[in-house]
Amino acid sequence: MNEEHLQSVLHAAPGSGAELLSGLGIVLYVGAALIFVAVIALVLHATFTDRLRASTRAWVVGGGIVFPAVALFLLLNYSIAVGSAVSAIESGSALRLLLDCFRIDSKARIPPPAPGSLRIHVDGKQWWWDVRYEVRSGDTSSIVLANELRVPLDEPVELLLTTSDVIHSFWVPSLAGKVDMIPGRTNRLVIRTSEPGIYRGQCAEYCGGQHALMALYVIAQPREEFEAWLTRQAQPAEAPRDDLLRSGYDAFFKGRCPECHTVRGTPADGASGPDLTHVGARHALAAGTLRNHIGTMAGWIAGAQDIKPGNPMPDSEVYTGRELRALSAWLESLE
């Protein structure tokens, strides 16, 4: 499962909305290239050849009005068809006709998710993503993680996108187009992929200081693996297994960590920072900025302001070397 895909419009995942958009893109690139070459060839020919004929009707009306009008009319209809196909909406008969005209078959379309199916709430924050699974209708507090979404293969998954502070934009280019997260509104995006792997995404709307370091990962896996992960995520953190981990646990509470972070199963219930209950299982740290291992964890705790200056997490300078190592080890053990 662990293949990391490029964060790229040009590398759309099969079965995703991005794949349809990528097909649309090819039509656009080819069309634009042909028109560009033709126009430039005509300009150069006109410039370097004297006194050619050019009737207003043929050139201005034909080239400037009729040709673009026809091409744009077709393009508009095609784009409306593709737009509806990736938007997980019920298509009315007119739209279905349009989809058939442009041969967008029903398997390629992103269907509206079935009622009661998995919904994930993603809330943008400066500069990370709070992720909550709505497993049962209305319950969004039992599975909480950050900067990572796991989704089952081949199933449309509905994302509900909000923000707690400024405008962000949720964008995983290999899976779907971007959707803004706007204060006071809830936007919706349905994603699907039929290829397992790790898809990188990044905030696309400038959101202040560390906008550049606000990434996330969507990990697609087969249904059974996903279920196992989900079950694990729903559980609270395990008690520390050995002395090292126990001293790490103590260090967590010695510092100011619990003020902002929650670790379910412990007294730590801070709400402003990412939930750390299963932080050890995540693909990355600091919103996609660092790989997740004990070394980067220690570095992030001690040097958060070095790595991502201006982010709300302070450098923790209260720990001895041993404590920092133990703390990192404990957090990494939270899988």
């Binding site: 070394g295 220690a298 040097g303 190592r325 990192s328």
Partner: protein, 116 residues
């Protein structure tokens, strides 16, 4: 007097003739391993993009260091062990044991020694 002092001073560095090298280590591979393991989160390491951390000591001109972490002699075998498992050599260190292969450790040591 002056020449003697100079010799004494030089004696404190490897420039007195000791040339650490890491048999089988590939500095370029080591540089890539450092980038992949993100050692730069804590250390300033010349030649590695984004390696400007201040959590640990800067590894600028590392070849010239006499001691590793102020505790162990700066020798290739020690350094290789240190980058993989620092606590075993310096129990109070903040640097955790980092999971990596022996080859990676060798390459990383080779790269660090290439920093003059």
């Amino acid at each position: 007097m002056l020449p003697i002092a100079a010799v004494l001073l030089l004696g404190c560095t490897h420039e007195s003739g000791y040339e650490p090298n890491v048999p089988g280590g590939n500095a370029e591979r080591g540089r890539r391993a450092i980038a992949a393991l993100e050692c730069g989160v804590c250390h300033e390491i010349p030649g590695v993009p984004g390696a400007w951390g201040h959590v640990g000591p800067p590894l600028v001109a590392y070849r010239g260091n006499v001691y590793i972490a102020g505790k162990q002699p700066n020798r290739p075998d020690v350094l290789m062990r240190f980058v993989r498992d620092a606590p075993s050599l310096a129990p109070d260190t903040a640097m955790p044991a980092i999971a990596m292969s022996e080859t990676q450790a060798r390459d990383i040591a080779a790269y660090l020694y290439s920093l003059e």
